[in-house]
Amino acid sequence: MKYLLTALLFFNLLYSNESCLNCHSNTTQMDGFHDIKKIGCASCHGGDGSALDKTDAHKNMVLHPARLEHAKIFCGKCHEEVIKRVQTSIMNSMSGVLDTLKFQFKETAKITQSGGIQQLRAKPAAKQSLAEDHFSKLCAACHINQDEKIFKNYTPRGGGCVDCHRVAPAKIISGNGGIKIIHPKLSTKIPSKNCLKCHNRSNRIGLSYFGKFESEGYGTPFIHGKLSHRLDKSRFYYDLPADIHHSKGGLECIDCHSEAGVMGDGKKHLHMEDALDISCSDCHAPNFKPSQNYPKAAMLSALNGSVPLAKDIAITRKKGTPLYNVAKDGNKTIIYRKRDGKKFIIPKLGNKPYHNLKIHKRLDCSACHSKWMPSCYGCHEVYFKNGKQYDWIKHKKTKGQWMELRSYLRYESPALAIGYNKKIMPTAPGCQVLMTIFDKNGTSQPFHSFAYAAWSPHTTSKEARSCIDCHFNPLAIGLGNGILDMNRNGISFMPYYDSNRSGLPINYPIDALISKEGVRFQSFSRDSARGFNKQEVNKIVNAYKCIICHGEYNDKIYKDFKKSKKRFKKGQTPCARELLK
């Protein structure tokens, strides 16, 4: 023990007197936890801290130690456990995206786990399948270990740990006294803009949460004679109501999505929802446990610095990980905003009839509380076999070029279906692929594959949608836009969209998930997800027969709906006497 201590002391002295600073005295200090005076340079960047010669000192040195291949060695000295977890996370491998795409492109009959980006990197371009080529050219730009240097016209992404944790970038300032190098700063208080670098496409959660809807590309209004409201070169947005967590509390992504949910639990997951840890009830109906049983919570709280560790903190139900910023305070539940430690009281899931209605126990919170759902209909994929396009994995132009066209966009109150968690969730197209291939022999349209996907759009509002917005809204039921009507003989529906005449190779409306007979037109990539069946459609619409008059949750007929129904059928209620004459 004595020897170990002396050894440590010796190293400590050595580090504090590293030769690096002899030359690099113009480099600024990092953040408090990575104090150069305490940990030195070489512990992160490698090289020889005791050498006095440049070539000797720079031997085996690494400029970007946060890239995952180096992080194992350098960051891993202290953060070994985290690095191991993050390497298996979906943000690194993107395997879920690739595997789902393969399924959508009809290359696999069932989604199975592949090696994701790491596997594709080793595969020659010529041997890639259509889905793999699409993935490498259109999707693979976003993953945490992307090479930052390759982005010239876009926000840089990647770089390993720093993709999320870097809060201030490296800068070189040249002045009178020579150049000054500002070392990037790392933090666990990750600003949402770091998340938004990637999470702004596909299901657009990152945009929706902040109240931005990717628009039809008009760039209106024209301000100062220019197109306005730009997201990037060719994408525009307009403002819609933001999520209440943002508009009221200014909560950032990390306030809900804890480190365990984001960086993974060390297991390889097939889909994002398997890796996801948080749910609404973890905060709004929390499960408190003493914080002293969770040393990790104490560590995270100390790293954050602004959030005090309470005696009792909330624990997630799914994976049992601590939420150190959700605390018990007497009868109240409190959330500390991780950014600055500001306190907010979390409204509790009360005992109100609307949350206790038995018939609605299959509903996910998002089914009622989502204000709008970004929906992009029709994904017309055009593939030029002889063209060339930049491959984000191989970092060069390879054969095969993609162009994407669409049909239309909407932001309505969401359509509903049974989601991945077997609960009723908001859905939108994802994706409705129509493939066109150009090659030497002309064009071919080898396949089309129309699918929906269920997700929580992150457009939460306090007011839930009205009863009629689900029970007599054809879009919500999954029939698509059109005229839904009902009489004694049953339900009738006339759709608006005419896919056939619009040139689509399908004989159902593009926004129809199911027919009123419960025939499933469009598929889901998840096994348990599906549109409503005939019985469910009838149940939902038939409920409207009561809702038209009994439109409030606290109406007494819903206290025991089965009993009320029986009484109605027997003609014992006032309305039955009127209606069943």
Binding site: E216, G217, Y218, G219, T220, P221, F222, I223, H224, G225, K226, L227, Y238, L240, P241, K371, W372, G378, H380, V382, E404, L405, S407, Y408, L409, R410, Y411, L434, T436, F438, G442, T443, S461, E463, S466, I468, F472, N481, G482, I483, L484, D485, M486, N487, R488, S492, M494, P495, Y496, Y497, D498, R501, S502, G503, L504, K545, I548, C549, L579, L580
Partner: protein, 498 residues
């Protein structure tokens, strides 16, 4: 023989027939090479080729098109080039000498009648637009529309320029858009022996030349205009073409009008008598015996279309920018703005190394004037509709028509008007009563009106879009709205279910 047909087609229309495959294009190429090679031997072929080439050159003025036809890859050419068919009409112009002067010889009395026709004066369209900009003079016609003032300070100084260079692309005396089809010929087709045309009765296609896009007309066929951005030009057809866009825009197809399904055309309802006196055709003129069961007395104040029109073209917030500077780059993805002239100008300007100065045509005096009008919407929807009280005592559908946002950038690049939506303290946006021609036998469900989110949803997203001025109409009163949720309604509706 097939090759010969293709080649003649190409000479006349400037492109291969759409129905033919890529192979056919290759065949045409081969044929041309064959002809050119054998031309030296065969004097007759040589002369014929020269004749057609000369005809085409004068007609289109683009010999380069023929060259690119031989040099460009057939696939790329097909997907990247928009289909604007203009050569056909111009060629006809050369061979056809018919014009209004020829008609006058026999139909001089008709010409007099026509001069007071609203199609000729466009009084309504012109004055309503001017009124929304705050100009009170309401007796302006196409013939008396003044030139815009030279100094521009307010949006209303721009309205006449806007009308002249953007809106009035469609008018009877238009020389530029279609030289063979002005005046009488704009509606009446002289070819008696063609199946789709009659001498007196205008064919449906003739009406739809102007009554299309955002307006009532093409919705009769179920057409809903696509968005302008490049990525909405879908789906590609089997040959790899973008969808056809004869009106300057391509379309979604929605549920069509039942009258169209049954074979009726525009003139079946909008007949001579109605057109002459500028009356609106009434549904009840034909549908005399409405069943009392389905048409209850409490709905007697509601127009037929309010229930029976299934969807309508709603385009919100028309943003207009007049730009006098050559700033074309930002429109790269937005060349298609429901304006074929602007489209071809932008495509050329974006391609050429020395971009042309920003000029566009005044459709009334046929002069090129400095500046270009660009446009863009907030969004378009087909599913929602707004019910209002019309001045004439009925409950009707209102359509957003003039929700203008005006900008003007002058020659020096200064913004004279920057995204202005108000004049004289009033919003320049309005709703007009419209009767969408998307009639179905089965009406809308009761809930579509009685629970219409635009009327009842207090947390409606984009509520501000429904606050503009209503022309010749007023919003539903509180009493009316209350009535729509009355116990009587609920009971009556519930009776349908049991």
């Amino acid at each position: 023989m097939r090759r010969l047909v293709f080649s003649f087609w190409f000479l006349v229309f400037g492109k291969a027939p759409r129905s033919q495959s890529i192979e056919a294009v290759k065949n045409v190429r081969k044929f041309y090479l064959f002809v050119i090679l054998s031309a030296a031997k065969n004097l007759f072929t040589f002369i014929m080729l020269g004749f057609f080439a000369a005809l085409r050159m004068t007609a289109i003025g683009k010999f380069t098109e023929i060259i690119t036809f031989f040099t460009a890859s057939p696939y790329k050419k097909r997907i990247l080039k928009p289909n604007i068919s203009k050569s056909a009409a111009i060629l006809v112009a050369l061979t056809l000498t018919l014009n209004a002067n020829s008609c006058i010889k026999c139909h001089s009395n008709k010409m007099q009648e026509c001069k007071s026709n609203i199609h000729f004066t466009l009084k309504k369209a012109i004055n309503t637009t001017r009124k929304t900009f705050g100009i009170k003079d309401s007796n302006i016609t196409l013939q008396t529309l003044p030139l815009p003032p030279k100094v521009i300070k307010e949006p209303k100084d721009l309205v006449d320029d806007l009308l002249r260079r953007k809106c009035l692309r469609c008018h009877l005396t238009s020389q530029t858009v279609n030289p063979t089809q002005n005046l009488c010929l704009a509606c009446h087709n002289p070819h008696k022996n063609r199946a789709d045309s009659y001498k007196a009765k205008p064919a449906q296609g003739k009406c739809l030349k102007c009554h299309n896009g955002e307006f009532i007309g093409s919705d009769y066929l179920g057409k809903f205009p696509h968005d302008y951005d490049k990525s909405y030009r879908s789906p590609l057809d089997k040959e790899g073409f973008y969808p056809q866009s004869k009106d300057g825009i391509d379309y979604h197809y929605l549920a069509q009008d039942i009258h169209h399904k049954k074979g009726l055309t525009c003139t079946s309802c909008h007949n001579k008598k109605i057109a002459k006196n500028w009356l609106k055709p009434k549904c009840t003129a034909c549908h005399k015996n409405l069943s009392a069961k389905n048409h209850k007395s409490y709905h007697s104040k509601i127009s037929c279309t309010a229930c029976h029109a299934s969807w309508m073209v709603n385009s919100y917030n028309l943003n207009l920018l007049r730009d006098d500077t050559p700033n074309y780059k930002q429109w790269k993805r937005l060349t298609k703005q429901f304006d074929p002239k602007l489209e071809s100008f932008l495509i050329n300007a974006l391609k050429s190394k020395t971009p042309p100065p920003p000029k566009s045509l005044d459709y009334l005096d046929n002069k090129e004037k400095s500046g270009i009008w660009y446009s863009g919407w907030k969004f378009k929807r087909w599913e929602n509709f707004w019910l209002v009280n019309s001045k004439y005592g009925k409950i009707e559908l209102a359509k957003p028509m003039f929700q203008y946002k005006i900008s003007y950038k002058d020659k020096n690049g200064t913004m004279v008007l920057d995204n202005i939506s108000q004049t004289d303290g009033k919003k320049i946006e309005a709703f007009l009563i419209k009767h969408p021609h998307t009639i179905t036998k089965k009406p809308k469900s009761c809930e579509q009106c009685h629970n219409n989110p635009i009327l009842f949803d207090k947390t409606l997203i984009n509520k501000n879009l429904f606050q503009g001025t209503l022309i010749n109409a007023a919003p539903l009163t509180k009493k009316q709205l209350k009535k729509m949720h009355s116990k009587k309604y609920k009971l009556e509706r519930a009776k349908n279910f049991f």
